[in-house]
Symmetry: C2
Subunit: 340 residues, 2 copies
């Protein structure tokens, strides 16, 4: 018998239909991973080709040497443009639109073409997160911006078009409906209980202990109760912090460690899967309100989004998160102890 | 400059970012289509292999001959089971679930293994729709069912696992959140105006004439104002009809014609793309209320759903629906006149 579960943060339903006892290799990617060189002459994100990208907006230097560690550039094929005003237009009562005003940037995470996030060391990952935060903080100052999303597409099934490790940032003049809804659920929980939904969720997960992958001083990593895909993984801070812009320098170092380890754990559990991750923050105008915690959602792309998901918004997963969390927790413990 | 548009039926936003003037071949699938035989020994949906499927729940006979034209069977890997009661359980205030009770059926559309919907004749397509409706009407009688969705995954990128043409039906004990939201938008429009949102939408599209692909006595085919993917195509009835269960026999014949032609038009416009289609109806308990019209949404899968879409719920398309509708309207006119 399958089970239908509700995501407490969105109220969306998920059907979890485990076909059989889960064996670790069931989700291992069967295809041979592509092998890439550390530098690709034709890659616009590789060192030496900086002139082929738009003018950079941020550069973090190498610790040793004279090169860069991380670069941020406007996306050459930006879906939003930084000039203009996002004024609503309407044609009759039904058709509403506005100009595509906002920001669409690319964070080039490393000068090394074939270095995946799981292969980075903690210091490299920390530089990436510092670049995220610097751009987040800069763009939230723009009064036209209602919401900022940071997301990574890793691998072909996750929608990437360039191999060189990069993250994208989109700063929008609208709050996405899905985010509005998610935020409303958090407000409603606060109205009912006087408490932050995400803090209650973290406490409930820590108390239950059955979906925890990793717990550190500042963060909890777990597979959510209503996981939408096998091995969906969330990283949530333990302390009150609606916006990623508010994370302290010390916490950012700690986040680098836990993120890198989690991505390496997923790599080991699933055989270097394609994945997306998304960094969620409160809408920029609501950053000082007590309803929300920023968080990271990692979605391995081991299945295809098909007609049922598109038509209903309901995901179908085939793994109970209690099982996948136990498996991944084991793998991370072995990684820590250096055992194979 | 891109444009941000709002879908009037969901209030969800879409970013349409056309990179350049659209040329018809921009979305043609470049890969060679697989070639399949009319019969496959190992296919459980091919004639002769009926014993390899669960016991059929409906069979429509061939017009001539003794075989079947359409078979409906329970899905062998059903995500919901027909036995049991969908009682809500809760663990604390956050974790809600219920047993996966409902129906998950497969409509085998034709005995011919390699016959795509676009290749069918009108009579074949009509039999498929009759099977949809017969199962819809049968399952809506079950008091445990809150929502019935019919959907088709055509091609690998659309998530299909079996080549033989088939549609899936899922009858659920919950109304999907996405459908609840969509329905609320329709109720809100009715409260504001005293009119059905979908009838107003059809009238507005017919008046504007810029996104219409085809108009018949009973149906309008158009590319929606906030198309989520290039060549997204909707088929909507012109007359008041909240539920697909209410479609008359005569209208079903007309729907077969217009659906088949539309799918053939998409095949010609995009070079036999992978696609999903979804048949939306009002929730089963709301079929006699004046808020909704059933409709079909066809989503060609020419792009990948990536981190931005998953994290924000906002789609990015690269074609203005006015352009794609003009192109597809031309193709359908040429099809009608027999010109190449």
């Amino acid at each position: 018998m399958s089970v239908i579960r509700q995501d407490p943060t969105t109220k969306a339903w998920v059907i979890i239909a485990p076909g059989r006892a889960m064996r670790p290799h069931d989700f291992q990617q069967v295809r041979e991973p592509h092998v890439f060189a550390p530098r690709d002459e034709s890659c616009p994100f590789c060192p030496g080709n900086e002139a082929h990208t738009p003018q950079e907006v941020l550069r973090l230097p190498e610790r040793q040497g004279t090169g860069w560690a991380v670069r941020v550039i406007p996306n050459k094929f930006a879906v939003l443009a930084s000039q203009g005003e996002p004024r609503h237009r309407a044609e009759g009562p039904l058709f509403r639109e506005m100009d595509g005003v906002g920001y669409h940037e690319v964070i080039v995470e490393t000068p090394i073409h074939n270095r995946t996030p799981a292969q980075m060391d903690d210091a490299e990952m920390e530089q990436v997160l510092r670049a995220y935060q610097a751009r987040y903080r800069a763009l939230q100052q723009d009064p036209r911006v209602r919401y900022i999303i940071l997301f990574k597409n890793h691998g072909e099934r996750a929608g990437t078009s360039l191999v060189h490790p990069h993250t994208q940032l989109v700063a929008m003049p609208i709050a996405p409906l899905q985010i509005r809804r998610k935020y409303e659920v958090a407000i409603s929980h606060y109205d009912d209980t006087g408490r932050c939904l995400y803090r209650d969720l973290v406490e409930a997960e820590v108390a239950a202990q059955v979906r925890i992958v990793e717990e550190t001083e500042h963060f909890v990593v777990f597979h959510p109760f209503a996981s939408r895909v096998p091995f969906e993984t969330w990283i949530v801070p333990k302390h009150y912090q609606p916006s990623f812009g508010q994370v302290s320098s010390e916490e950012l170092s700690a986040l680098a460690q836990v993120s890198r380890k989690t991505l390496l754990g997923l790599d080991n559990a699933l055989g270097k899967p394609d994945f997306n991750y998304v960094l969620h923050s409160a809408p920029t105008e609501d950053e000082t309100k007590p309803y929300y915690l920023w968080h990271i959602q990692i979605l391995p792309r081991v299945t295809t989004i098909a007609g049922f998901e598109l038509g209903s918004g309901i995901s179908i997963s085939t793994v109970m998160p209690e099982q996948s969390a136990a498996l991944m927790g084991d793998i991370m413990t072995r990684m820590r102890s250096g055992r194979p």
